[in-house]
């Protein structure tokens, strides 16, 4: 039988606010456990939440970014359950009246552009973390993350394979980073994906029973987890079994998934409107003001890179996909006045080096301004492209602050002194009389190829610093 896969995503996006959604504590990642949790985050008796306006601004920006209806009346509710990393015994979230209503994102698929509908997105607080290592027979609780603002984005079940799901996830990642409402650091849990998967016989309208694989934090794991779960469901169904509605966990290290809990164990969350927080009413003027702050989105950026900088569509797509890359590229392009060169370097040398050292562009040791300095010197023929890489490596190693400093220190300037070049060439001609004879005797169409030998020798003798155009001109003249 032929099967069709149906996938829907629920994505938790941590908002990049400085403070938490209902308290003034910092949201910075990586602090010592429980150093960023105040009395409100600890749910001390008598404390009260106050909503962070910045979280609302970011949620509205997101809504506008997915072409959604912004709900001008939204309500926080309490979702009740007990867990040690949930200090109040309830999570403050939105249910009946979320801030962002229906919207959509477009993804590129093998069949062309496809619209993935988004059911809604709501604001809520993150829970803390339970730490099960390092405490013999006990669990530790870190409440630094408790109260970090999230938007939970809920898609419709519009994706039909892992590729589409990953494309949607990447598109969402690009959007939230471009909007600068999330740092996009998936390894730190800034974006976490829950994937709802079901399969049904091709042509059948009724959806199959779904499972939810929770907390995937990389595109690769998401792809693997979907493939694995689809395979499992098909094999269960084909051997006459039934799918149980359950929550599953995928382990990216072992490449295995396991059931976490079935629907029967699920809580009755007893949602009700939070009496400590009033409904939030956003007027037209507010939404319009946020709309004015909308930064250029990736799609518009890609078009601009093609029209203003003359970049090929493919390069423009890569450079505009996330805001860090786009900002790095644009800074280097502006500093050097060489957008095409900057594009080649960012996609080529820079990303190759980053991959080799397994670091992200955010942590690149060579700043975009420094790269711009290198490119400027390549463009004005102060150095060769080859020397450019030497300068880049030196800056990477921290050997200097600017390209010019490295060029001077290493003596990488192109040799344009005609006298010096003539001397080098005269020496080569004298030392290679046989090659000179056969060059002169050769027919014109072979000469170009044979010239390479002398160019190579001369470059070598100049330690790569000869101005290539000048070198060629002198060589041609002397070999006549």
């Amino acid at each position: 039988m032929e099967w069709e896969t149906v996938i829907g995503l629920e994505v938790h996006v941590q908002l990049a606010t400085k403070s938490k959604i209902f308290s003034g504590s910092s949201t910075a990642f990586g602090a010592e456990p429980n150093t960023q949790a105040c009395a409100i985050d600890l749910a001390m008796p008598g404390t009260l939440p106050v909503a962070n306006a910045e979280a609302f601004r970011m949620a509205v920006l997101f809504g506008l970014g997915i072409n959604a209806k912004i709900n001008q009346h939204s309500v926080f509710e309490r979702k009740n359950y007990f867990y040690p990393d949930l200090p109040k015994g309830y999570q403050t979230t939105q249910l009946a009246e979320p801030i962002v209503g229906p919207g959509f994102l477009e993804i590129e698929t093998a069949q062309g552009v496809k619209q993935v509908r988004i059911h809604h997105a709501h604001l809520e607080e993150d829970a803390g973390k339970s730490l099960h290592e390092d405490f013999h027979g006990m669990s530790g609780i870190d409440l630094n993350r408790a109260g970090t603002p999230l938007i939970e984005v809920v898609s419709e079940p519009d994706m039909r394979n892992a590729e589409e799901a990953v494309a949607f996830a990447k598109k969402l990642h690009a959007l939230v980073t471009a909007l600068e409402i999330c740092d996009g650091e998936m390894s730190q849990g800034s974006m976490r994906f829950d994937v709802n998967i079901s399969v049904r016989p091709k042509g059948q309208e009724k959806l199959g029973t779904r499972t939810e694989t929770k907390n995937l934090n990389s595109f690769k794991f998401m792809d693997e987890a979907i493939e694995l779960e689809v395979e499992r469901q098909i094999s269960v169904l084909e051997s006459g079994g039934v799918i149980t509605q359950e929550t599953r966990l995928y382990n990216g290290d072992t490449k295995k998934a396991r059931s976490m809990r079935s629907k029967e164990d699920s809580n009755d969350y007893r949602y009700f409107p939070c009496p400590d927080l009033l409904p939030v009413v956003l007027d037209d003027a507010y939404i319009e003001a946020v709309r004015q702050q909308m930064p250029e989105l990736p799609a518009a950026k890609a078009v601009r890179y093609q029209t203003s900088f003359g970049l090929p569509a493919y390069d423009a797509g890569i450079l505009s996909a996330d805001s860090t890359t786009a900002r790095y590229f644009e800074t280097a392009a502006a500093a050097s006045g060489q957008p095409k060169l900057a594009a080649n370097w960012v996609i080529g040398e820079v990303s190759a080096q980053l991959n080799r050292h397994e670091i992200s562009l955010q942590n690149c040791p060579v700043s975009a301004d420094q790269l711009g300095g290198i490119l400027q010197r390549i463009a004005d023929n102060t150095i060769t492209a080859k020397s450019g890489k030497t300068v880049f490596d030196a800056l990477w190693q921290g050997e200097g602050q600017t390209a010019d400093e490295i060029i001077a220190a290493k003596g990488l300037q192109v040799v344009s002194d005609t006298g010096a070049l003539e001397k080098i060439i005269d020496d080569i001609i004298a030392a290679n009389s046989a090659q000179v004879e056969s060059y002169r005797a050769a027919p014109d169409d072979k000469k170009a190829k044979m010239l390479g030998f002398f160019t190579g020798q001369a470059m070598k003798a100049s330690k790569g610093q000869a101005n290539p155009q000048q070198l060629n001109a002198i060589l041609l003249a002397k070999l006549q």
């Binding site: 009395a39 600890l42 749910a43 001390m44 008796p45 008598g46 404390t47 009260l48 939440p49 106050v50 909503a51 309490r78 009740n80 007990f82 040690p84 200090p87 109040k88 015994g89 309830y90 609780i141 009755d268 007893r270 949602y271 009700f272 009496p275 400590d276 927080l277 009033l278």
Partner: protein, 484 residues
């Protein structure tokens, strides 16, 4: 000294006829001597009080000290006090010392008011007799075999027994007004949102409101401006102009339209209470006010709606007491489930558990629409009754509670009988309106209260109406026989 009004005490302090230390020591002595018989304090902060008194005396000596500087008062143990155990009347918080203070506690401290201690209360403010306190019941100074009312029974009793000139209190369904009525003192629950809830341990967030207890309306008026401040830390606190609450006290009541709800004088009202309230209404007529019979047709929905909404909110508000971060933790928990189950089973008393169970039930899948949604609709109807009434009248008067103080244990077996204690007070919490109780007579030697219900933010008018009554009557000056 303990029989002086707050106006007189302030005058003595400001003129240095008496020092804050002398005054504070006097009340501390009275507490030490008399409170074993009433149990109105859970914690007496004698040492801290004297240090605060000395600081107040230093400010008074410098001149320009705030009006209330050096005045001692007590705080209900529902308000967090930095460095001082705040139990909320529960074993669950018997070991809880907050690292912060409630906004209202800070307001009084900043004004130089001296804290004598923390007053006893029903556990988590759930009760109308003070019998649910982990620290034992408070006894009514007028009749020690009777309850003082609740949940602010400790605050009411300590003011009635002249152990403190005034006390803070809180009111979710009548917890200021009913004990004020039963103990023969004055009590004000301001408009919901008027007073910050920051640092007040939550029972039912949409109904809880901090307020004051003192012997007279004038005393309360002198204290209310310090209680009131806009507080951005409480999202439900309203940024509304704050009048000088003393300014209107002396206005005559000529032409005042007093609404008298027919529903508040029906079956269940003690004949003696009814007679005292009637007499008070007649007194108002003699002051030039006009009585207007009104109807609050949805009054009968108040108690049922309240006992859905309040438990629903409390079931979530009390989830934080889980034995994980602070408060009571059971011995040797075997696992997480055991930690939760036993910490909560051992840390909470029966009435708290009953309300958490009711609240969890009414919010459960399949019951929400039948209970919680319906209760919210009823709440809206009750509020609209008042909105209509206030188009015809300026203030509403009636009884505070159905009968005078009852004996310990007499309603213990029947929670519903206990819940009916608040039949006249609950509606104002559901509507968010201000309510007040002032003494209007004695029945069998026990006080009864007259309830005043004002429109939103009409505290000044209510204090004016109460004060004019107290100028012509002496019920608020009567003291229990054992005290004088």
């Amino acid at each position: 000294m303990h029989n002086l009004s707050i106006a007189q005490l302030i005058n003595q302090l400001q003129t240095k006829a008496v020092s804050s230390r002398e005054l504070t020591q006097h009340f501390l002595n009275r507490i030490a001597q008399l409170d074993p018989g009433y149990n109105s304090f859970v914690t007496v902060t004698a040492e801290q009080a004297l240090a605060q008194a000395d600081a107040a005396d230093a400010r008074l000596a410098q001149g320009n000290a705030p009006d209330l500087c050096g005045l001692p008062m007590a705080h209900k143990d529902i308000f967090c006090t930095q460095g001082v155990r705040t139990s909320c009347g529960s074993k669950m918080l018997d070991n809880f010392i907050p690292p912060y203070s409630a906004t209202i506690v800070e307001n009084y401290a900043a004004a130089g008011v001296v804290m004598l201690g923390k007053t006893n209360m029903d556990e988590f403010a759930m009760g109308s007799s003070n019998e649910t306190s982990y620290y034992g019941p408070v006894k009514n100074p007028w009749a020690t075999h009777c309850v003082p009312g609740g949940s602010s029974g400790g605050s009411a009793a300590c003011v009635a027994a002249r152990l403190a000139p005034a006390a803070t209190a809180s009111d979710t369904g009548g917890s200021i007004r009913q004990p004020a009525s039963l103990c023969g003192i004055s009590g004000l629950k301001p408009t919901y949102g008027r007073i910050s809830r920051w640092g007040m341990i939550a029972f039912a967030s949409s109904l809880d409101q901090a307020g004051l207890m003192a012997r007279s309306a004038e005393d309360i008026a002198l204290l209310l401006n310090t209680l009131t401040s806009f507080d951005a830390k409480d999202s439900t606190c309203v940024d509304h102009p704050i009048p000088d609450y003393r300014a209107d006290l002396t206005k005559p009541l000529n032409g005042l339209r007093i609404g008298v709800p027919v529903e508040y004088f029906g079956e269940g009202l003690h004949a003696g209470t009814a007679a005292a309230v009637d007499a008070a209404l007649k007194h108002y007529e003699s002051l030039g006010a006009r009585l207007v019979s009104i109807s609050l047709p949805h009054s009968s929905l108040s108690v049922p709606a309240y006992y859905v909404i309040a438990p629903a909110e409390c079931s979530a508000n009390l989830s934080r007491f889980d034995g994980v971060r602070y408060g009571y933790r059971c011995k040797d928990p075997q696992d997480l489930e055991d930690l939760y189950r036993r910490s909560r089973a051992e840390g909470f008393g029966d009435e708290v558990k009953r309300r958490i169970l009711i609240g969890s039930y009414v919010l459960s899948a399949g019951f929400y629409d039948a209970y919680y949604s319906q209760a919210q609709k009823a709440r809206r109807l009750i509020q609209q009754d008042f909105v209509s009434a206030f188009q015809q009248v300026d203030i509403i008067l009636g009884p505070t509670s159905p009968s005078p103080a009852f004996e310990f244990g007499s309603k213990g077996q029947d929670p519903v009988a206990m819940y009916l204690e608040d039949i006249y007070t609950i509606a104002t919490n559901l509507a968010g309106l201000p309510g007040m109780s002032i003494p209007c007579g004695l029945v069998d030697g026990k006080p009864v209260g007259l309830q005043l219900i004002g429109n939103y933010f009409a505290e000044s008018l209510m204090l004016n109406v109460a004060h004019q009554y107290q100028l012509g009557t002496d019920f608020h000056t009567l003291a229990p026989a054992a005290i004088s």
